[in-house]
């Protein structure tokens, strides 16, 4: 909310510099977000009277005026249409400075001398746009300093009021806080009213007195409305409220000043029976903004037998609206339940200054006072007769009328704060803000009713007002050993470091995607895809089923910026709805997407063609990383992920749990993201990997006896897989075969179209006997024969 200093000063003396005040407020929990000096530097604008207007000899749209400033007359050329002879206007004379540093000089306009400028409201920085010269009321003092008279220069504090400090959402509320901070008395509101019995009956029927424990209505008649005084309009504008008409302006003014929303009904349009009740379902009202609105049965409203006249605390109805001709009003000042107002705003879809006050809780003890303030202002400015009877419906049994108390114990407060304030110091501080202490009870003032509930609230008040710097600093006393790092944390940290060392760069993407993104990436929206009820845009309306869809967009972003080689990695989640739709299952992944050579900058021939996005390298990259985490045996099985190459893909299992998948991106998907080359994909399911039980490896004796190697070069059909061969070897191996591995593989014309060569080394070793050549040859021969027999292959 915005607070003009000039207005605050009506209620509390401010003698320190504004920046110092702002610091004090910020350190007391009222954060000053901006200090705005309004019209800083403007000067030399006086109130003048237009004596004579003659047409400009050389311009159709201009007039030449003679303006009298109380001592001299000045010739000023003016283009506005709303001026007339005798009008009182603000005049800036040569040497004047207007908002924005605009300097007024003598000038010639189409050959006619002009000695100044007659100003509009916008030229004086008082509104955005105005339709002509600012015409002043007839009582404006001729020749006076207009800047001072119209209070054009002001300093406005903008303060972010926190949800618990509804009591500070008003000039008086902030002035009260300032009076505590500056040790300066708070001045009372002038609420003096001359009342007269009107003897016009009015009944209030309160059918919702829990939600509206206090409702007051008062008649004011024979008001002679004209435009609101400049100072009043000015203050509303400084607080970002648009002046509308006198009566509306007054209710807004009192709302800003006291924090109590008021509503003025046109008495002639309102019946004599006011009913406070909840709306019936689908009951409608045409509100002040001209819209017809449907209400729900939780919405509190002010009605007459004819129907709803106002949505209580939120907005008035068009049927009983006051206008510039209204002379007689019924002024409402009431307390409406905060939650009910908030719910009402949601269901009607309306927010208002009034609702913003009610939903943070207004001061029930201030309702009548605020109404009196409005009566006082109306009567002072526009005359009118205020009814002697103030019709009040009060639910005396409502808890709000019992003075609220909180148990007070200085020791407990010091224990929570870690402070050493004396009881006297605490009492002194609390009493400044209206909290009285008797023995072990704190009595809460009505304006803090909604906010202060338990002793930590008192501790907070003491701490903030005495200063957080008065509390010592200590390090925690608990000797608590750090909890063990969870398996997921350990695994992901290790894997990220592993891939980082291999050149992968970490991305962080949003998990929100559009349906189009899913389709482009080869996925589809299913009934298990979590969907946003209020997405920012349709492109961010779903939660991703896979990190692949997000990383493809990153790839595209970089390719489109001439970075077509990349090694991307992300640690993030995929999301799916559970079958009962009540929960969303999050799965944590480390996902890699890459198209690049293995070595960075491989300018030497031997490095040039080694690509990391080759399927066997992709597989190797994944297996190495899994083996860095787990010693369990890895099984690789085919996979059918449609986003990947139909054959060049697979999944990795450990102890029968699928923990990862890998492959080359399907070219048709790659193309959609401008990826022109092979592209590797690896996704490691961290949640599953963390479930693998790790056994501590147990030492096996290292053989001291020499190992022997025998090689076989096989010519095999291309349709025979390495898996076929290795399975057979494992099934038929001798007990001395400790290891075997491929050391060569190639195809050639000489071998023939369907044949390839594969060379395997076999390592024979025993831990207890010295193997003779014969032992080894026998075992090796037996194995070779089995391979030839079972696999239709030839030994080369």
């Amino acid at each position: 909310m915005k607070y003009p200093i000039s207005w605050l000063k009506e209620y509390v003396d401010i003698t320190i510099p504004i920046t110092e005040l702002a610091d004090k407020l910020s350190l007391a929990g009222l954060e000053v977000e901006a200090i705005e000096t309004v019209n800083d530097g403007i000067s030399n604008v006086v109130i003048g009277r237009i004596e004579k207007i003659t047409p400009h000899p050389n311009a159709d749209k201009l007039n030449v005026t003679q303006v009298f400033d109380g001592t001299t007359s000045h010739q000023i050329v003016c283009g506005a249409k709303n001026i007339y002879e005798g009008a009182l206007v603000p005049v800036s004379l040569p040497g004047a400075v207007l908002p924005g540093g605009f300097k007024i000089k003598k000038a010639k306009l189409r050959d006619v001398e002009s000695n100044g400028m007659i100003c509009s409201e916008s030229e004086l920085g008082c509104c955005e746009k105005s339709d002509g010269i600012w015409l002043l009321p007839s009582d404006a003092p001729l020749g006076a300093d207009f800047i001072q008279w119209a209070q054009l220069i002001d300093v406005v504090l903008e303060i972010g009021i926190l949800p618990n400090r509804g009591d500070c959402q008003s000039i008086i509320g902030l002035a009260r806080e300032i009076s505590v901070l500056l040790n300066s008395p708070l001045k009372a509101l002038n609420t003096e009213v001359q009342s007269t019995p009107l003897n016009q009956p009015l009944t209030i029927k309160n059918d919702a007195n829990t939600l509206c424990p206090l409702y007051s209505a008062r008649r004011i008649v024979n008001i002679s409305q004209s435009a609101s005084p400049i100072w009043l309009r000015r203050r509303l504008q400084l607080c970002d409220i648009r002046p509308i008409s006198f009566l509306v302006d007054i209710t807004n003014y009192v709302l800003l000043e006291t924090g109590q929303p008021l509503h003025a009904f046109d008495q002639e349009k309102l019946a004599e029976n006011i009913i406070i009740r909840l709306a019936n379902d689908k009951e409608t009202i045409k509100t002040l903004d001209g819209q017809r609105r449907e209400l729900s049965k939780e919405t509190l409203c002010i009605a007459t037998p004819k129907g709803i006249q106002a949505i209580a605390g939120i907005m008035g109805g068009a049927d009983t609206e006051v206008d510039i001709h209204t002379q007689n009003i019924v002024l409402e000042s009431a307390f409406f339940d905060a939650q009910t107002i908030r719910k009402g705003c949601h269901s009607v879809g309306l927010r208002s200054e009034s609702a913003a006050r009610f939903e943070k809780g207004v001061d029930i003890e201030n309702c009548i006072n605020a109404a009196n303030r409005a009566c006082h202002l109306i009567q002072t400015i526009a005359g009118g007769t205020v009814d002697e009877t103030h019709y009040i419906d009060k639910n005396d049994t409502h808890p709000l009328f019992n003075k609220k108390t909180i148990a007070f114990d200085d020791a407990i407060i010091n224990r929570l704060l870690g402070s050493e304030f004396t009881r006297e110091e605490m009492v002194e501080t609390l009493e400044k803000i209206g909290i009285t202490i008797t023995n072990s009870t704190a009595h809460i003032p009505s304006w803090r009713n909604a906010d202060l509930t338990e002793y930590p609230c008192l501790a907070e008040e003491i701490a903030r007002l005495r200063g957080f710097d008065q509390i010592p600093s200590k390090l925690p006393a608990t000797a608590l050993p750090m909890m063990k790092t969870t398996d997921t944390t350990r695994i992901k940290t290790q894997l990220m470091t592993h891939f980082n060392a291999l050149g992968f760069t970490e991305c962080i993407t949003f998990p929100m995607l559009g349906e189009k993104d899913l389709i482009n990436a080869g996925f589809e929206k299913t009934e298990n895809t979590p969907e946003f009820a209020n997405p920012l845009t349709q492109n961010e309306s779903l939660l991703r089923p896979s990190l692949l869809a997000s990383l493809l967009k990153v790839a595209q972003h970089n390719i489109n910026r001439q970075m077509s080689s990349f090694k991307l990695i992300e640690n993030g989640h995929s999301y799916a709805l559970s079958s009962d739709k009540k929960t969303v299952k999050q799965t944590e992944w480390i996902t890699l997407l890459f198209t690049d050579t293995t070595y960075s900058n491989p300018y030497k021939p031997s490095y040039k063609d080694i690509r990391l996005d080759n399927i066997l390298q992709i597989k190797g990259l994944l297996i190495d990383s899994i083996q860095s985490i787990s010693k369990a045996e890895i099984t690789i099985t085919p996979n059918e992920k449609q986003q990947l190459h139909p054959v060049h893909q697979g999944q990795v299992s450990l102890s029968d749990k699928t923990v990862a998948e890998f492959g080359q991106l399907h070219p048709s998907i790659a193309k959609k993201f401008n990826i022109q080359t092979d592209c590797g994909y690896i996704a490691i399911n961290i949640d599953e990997l963390a479930k693998i039980k790790e056994e501590t490896p147990q030492f096996k004796e290292i053989s001291k006896l020499p190992a022997s190697r025998r090689d076989i070069a096989l010519a095999i059909k291309k349709s025979t897989t390495y898996d076929d061969i290795s399975t057979l070897i494992k099934q038929n191996k001798s007990k001395y075969l400790t290891d075997f591995y491929t050391f060569d593989e190639f195809e050639s014309e000489k071998l023939g179209k369907d044949i390839k060569s594969i060379a395997i080394a076999f390592i024979y070793q025993s831990t207890d006997t010295n193997l003779t050549d014969e032992d080894i040859n026998t075992a090796h021969k037996k194995l070779s024969e089995t391979l030839i027999e079972k696999l239709d292959i030839q030994i080369r």
Partner: protein, 338 residues
């Protein structure tokens, strides 16, 4: 004869010293010490010597022989080294050419910041916990003392899923989950993504927070101050002033915002601190008694403090990043700077 031996030694030492190749050295060895070498020649005269002279000359001859062998070996080692060095120098690579390597990858500035922050708190005993990003209303709001229709809900621009869940608007629900599953005392840190439906230069719909929670008997606001001062000084420098400013969060009371003196202008006021001299870093407070009640802790027996800090903001300050959106574009030209 004695003189001849001395002369042979001196002459040969000079020729060894002057030799320039292994072959030359070998020739010297053969010519001097070989079967038909100069030494043998000289020693042919021994038979003509007296019995007194014989052992004296014999000893001298051995000394000459040993001395020459040692010198030849030493010279050979020198020549070998020189020869190897010459070979090495002949076949060199230009080592100023660019390196060929895997190239190291880059860790996202957010992750780097999370690691740094967690490491500081780890020194005080805080362990890392995690919780779901898709939350229920209860854990994100209700249990944190933000009932439905509470004005504080306006502070959170919440994303809702059609199935009724919310994207967590802060990491605070992890507090609740940790307390629901763990008896006190607790010292925990919860880093992670959070979601708000808001997007401009300073707001991103997804950003990162770290939540901290310390619950035990007799935890006080003084502990909150001590812990956070320690953290901020470790992170930003020991000479910076830290300021605690009263604030409001439904789940803590008293609540505070913590500012550090602007490290760019040292408090004088600049663009980074919006002329205030202070940079707002985190929010914190003493755990609200209603929060303890909602997890079944006894609010009279326990107290605690909680804090939440925006990782993105800290990363931006630390690395001088001006637009939050850069963090999530994943442009390699950006990521490779860190």
């Amino acid at each position: 004869m004695q003189k001849s031996l001395e002369k042979l030694k001196q002459d040969t030492l000079i020729t060894i010293k002057n030799s320039t190749s292994i072959q030359e050295l070998e020739d010297i060895r053969v010519n001097t010490l070989g079967k038909k070498g100069a030494l043998t020649d000289i020693l042919k005269g021994v038979k003509d010597l007296s019995n007194e002279e014989k052992p004296v000359i014999g000893k001298l001859a051995n000394e000459v022989k040993t001395a020459l062998f040692i010198e030849i070996d030493a010279k050979r080692a020198t020549l070998d080294t020189e020869a190897l060095n010459a070979t090495l120098l002949n076949n060199t690579e230009d080592i100023t050419l660019p390196a060929i390597s895997f190239g190291f990858g880059h860790t996202h500035p957010i992750t780097q910041t999370v690691k740094e922050v967690s490491a500081i708190f780890a020194r005080l005993g805080f362990s890392v916990a995690e919780g779901p990003e898709v939350e229920d209303d209860y854990h994100n709001f209700e249990a944190l003392n933000i009932p439905e229709h509470h004005p504080a809900r306006d502070m959170h621009d919440t994303f809702y899923l059609t199935a009724g869940q919310v994207m967590r608007t802060h990491t605070s629900p992890v507090q609740i989950r940790v307390m629901e599953n763990t008896p006190p005392p607790i010292m925990t840190l919860a880093p992670g993504k959070v979601y708000r439906c808001d997007f401009d230069v300073t707001h991103s719909p997804v950003f990162h927070q770290i939540e901290g929670l310390y619950v035990d008997k007799d935890v006080s606001f003084a502990h909150l101050k001590g812990t956070l001062e320690f953290f901020l000084k470790e992170l930003f420098g020991k000479d910076l002033t830290v300021r605690f400013r009263p604030s409001y969060f439904p789940f803590t009371e008293p609540s505070t915002e913590v500012d550090v003196q602007c490290f760019k202008c040292k408090g004088a006021g600049c663009n980074l601190c919006k002329k205030t001299g202070w940079i707002e870093i985190l929010g914190a407070g003493m755990v609200n008694r209603n929060v303890f009640r909602s997890v079944g802790y006894d609010p009279d027996a326990l107290s605690g403090f909680a804090f939440g800090l925006g990782i993105d903001r800290i990363a931006m300050l630390k690395f001088g990043i001006t637009d939050i959106r850069l963090l999530y574009e994943n442009d390699l030209r950006f990521l490779k700077q860190f």
